[in-house]
Amino acid sequence: MAGSTLEIKDLHVEIEGLEILKGVNLTIKGGEFHAVMGPNGTGKSTLASAVMGHPKYEVTKGSILLDGEDVLEMEVDERAQAGLFLAMQYPSEISGVTTSDFLRSSINSLREEGDEIPLMQFIKKMDETMDYLEIDKNMAQRYLNEGFSGGEKKRNEILQLMMLEPAMAILDEIDSGLDIDALKVVSKGINKMRNEEFGCLIITHYQRLLDYITPDHVHVMMQGRVVKSGGPELAERLEAEGYDWIKEELGIEDETIGQNA
């Protein structure tokens, strides 16, 4: 089998005592691209955060396995070291830490001790990747995400993705706030990652991203669950018709998480 496998089984997640995810099932294999769509507030970011280990989210039931290993037992940094990556919907700003220093620390933390990336090799890779993503070279020396525009933050997340080369990535609304040109560049970056090994889950509201990155599978989330799955045609239908037909089909009146089906 090529690459890693991420298995999410019957996942229940609470934030501050409120249950947000109510039994999510999803399996992503290496080489596959999955898209998760769904109206606002239906639990998409919660799913991504729970996989990465966000401190506010508590898993109350279910399991997350990466190649059979229990992800829920791992600290956040261990999850990254195991091969997971999350491009966040709202990346943090880290004052006083340059993008370049941060990335070098990250890369080295993913490598064995004593096998740190040589400085010249790092600089070369960083330069090439920034060129590829048409990022201004000054960004390397700017403080991480501090004062970045929305679009710059997203590009920076993809820069990190390409530099760190994880086995399995979740991209949470990587397309939001991007202009058309930026969308193309970011898509180009994500597509460059595509190979038999790399697995990816793309959370998005819009077909326009999926025009550039064709997913193998498309899932729809409502009320904290995956309520429908299909191929790329499902995303196209959602773009054309919205979510009402699914709600009708499943007898859902209010898709947000406060409700039960």
Partner: protein, 435 residues
């Protein structure tokens, strides 16, 4: 133990000590008066720090130190402080209470620059020392600790830069408390005459992780008309030393005093930094960074007092508190009546890392004049768990993530520090304290 405990040093002891140091009579009198004054004075008044259980009395007062023959003999922690300065020019090393090395380049000597220990200066440059020593800067009778300082002085340096002389290379002094119980009653007297320029850098190092000792330091900096003084300090006393350090500047017309202070002691510390902007168009920028750890308690004050018209004073202090460390950051901008068009700005920020750490920032503006500008910013906060999560989500360990956040938090001050050597030393010391 209480702070009122008597010192085991009396007038007879001081007489003998002074004779051995071959001090002039006037200075002997300063000591004898001061020891009497000290008895009747109270400890310094600190708004929010209680000095209960701080050691101010347990120490050895008179400890000699051997001369340094070769720099290679110096321990690594001293050698790193010297950096490129292995040529040993314009450098004094004080070991315990003795000068172990002293050098001043022939060029600077020819220009009339004086850089020597204070005991020698009392005799050889008596007029200048007498004129400035604890007169217009710090007074002997401010409180018990300033009086004790004058009485027990056992170390010090005098730096004089004559009119119009511009000293290009930084002048450095290292105070190395090699004996773990040796006290340091140290006086720095810096006089920059009219339109002169100098960069001065001092390092304090001790070896007492377990033994108790005391440091009582007073620096007085006089920038006469048009003089520029850049004063850098990295305080790095070990846990056993209780420190009182008072650095004070007096800036005359068109003069500037820049402070770059690394307040990195590991023991309880009172650090006071006050600048009097006496002259019109005088200027001061006080920058300070601190890292507190363990159970240490610290009280930092940065204060600038404006007398001169169009005087400008800026305070920028950032501190990180770890473990159970507690600190108070006072920032005080005071504008006296008549100091029209003065500008007082300050920023104090404290980051707390652990549950047990405490920080407090008190920005104070005291303004007695209408036609001025002033502003302050202060913040005290805990490290943001979401920031750590973000960094860790890229594989960085929690410890490394905290390290990045700490460096990041202090960096706006560190990178603004005008003396490169101090910047480099600070990065080094911060690194050592973060783990």
């Amino acid at each position: 133990m209480t702070v009122e405990t008597q010192l085991p040093y009396d007038k007879d002891y001081l007489m003998q000590y002074s004779e051995r140091r071959k001090e002039p009579q006037w200075f002997r009198d300063v000591r004898l008066n001061a020891i009497e004054t000290a008895e009747n004075l109270a400890m310094p008044k600190l708004e929010k720090t209680r000095l209960k259980n701080w050691n101010f009395t347990n120490f050895k007062h008179d400890v000699s130190g051997e001369a340094v023959q070769k720099f290679e003999e110096l321990p690594e922690k001293i050698r790193v402080l010297l950096g490129e300065k292995s040529t040993s020019e314009n450098l004094i090393i004080v070991r315990n209470n003795d000068v172990a090395h002293a050098s001043l380049s022939p060029e600077l000597q020819d220009k009339g620059v004086v850089f020597k220990d204070i005991f020698t200066a009392m005799n050889e440059n008596e007029d200048l020392v007498k004129k400035y020593f604890m007169q217009d800067g710090v007074s002997v009778d401010e409180h018990k600790l300033t009086a004790r300082h004058a009485a027990l002085l056992n170390s010090g340096v005098f730096l004089y830069v004559p009119k119009n002389v511009k000293v290009e290379e930084p002048i450095q002094i290292v105070f190395w408390q090699e004996d773990p119980e040796a006290a340091l009653f140290n006086h720095v007297l810096l006089v920059a005459d009219q339109h002169s320029e100098v960069t001065y850098l001092e390092n304090y190092v001790s070896e007492n992780k377990n033994e108790e000792a005391v440091a009582n330091i007073v620096s007085e900096v006089f920038a006469l008309d048009g003089a520029n003084v850049s004063y850098g300090a990295v305080d790095n006393f070990e846990k056993g030393t209780t420190t009182y350090v008072n650095r004070r500047g007096v800036a005359q017309r068109d003069a500037t005093i820049e402070w770059a202070l690394g307040q990195m002691n590991d023991g309880n510390t009172i650090s006071d930094n006050v600048t009097y902007l006496m002259g019109d168009n005088s200027y001061s920028y006080a920058k300070a960074v601190s890292v507190g750890r363990g159970d240490q308690k610290q009280d930092f004050t940065a204060k600038i007092v404006h007398y001169g018209k169009e005087s400008e004073g800026y305070i920028l202090q950032h501190g990180v508190m770890k473990d159970n460390a507690t600190s108070i950051f006072n920032g005080i901008g005071k504008i006296e009546h008549g100091a029209t068009k003065a500008n007082a700005e300050q920023e104090s920020r404290v980051l707390m890392l652990d549950q047990g750490s405490r920080g407090d920032a008190n920005p104070i503006l005291l303004i007695d004049e209408d036609d001025v500008t002033a502003g302050h910013a202060a913040s005290v906060g805990r490290v943001d768990p979401i920031q750590l999560y973000y960094l860790m989500s890229r594989g960085i360990s929690q410890q490394e993530a905290e390290r990045l956040v700490i460096h990041g938090f202090l960096s706006p001050v560190v990178r603004e520090i005008p003396i490169e050597t101090v910047q480099a030393q600070l990065r080094e010391v911060i690194e050592g304290k973060v783990y």
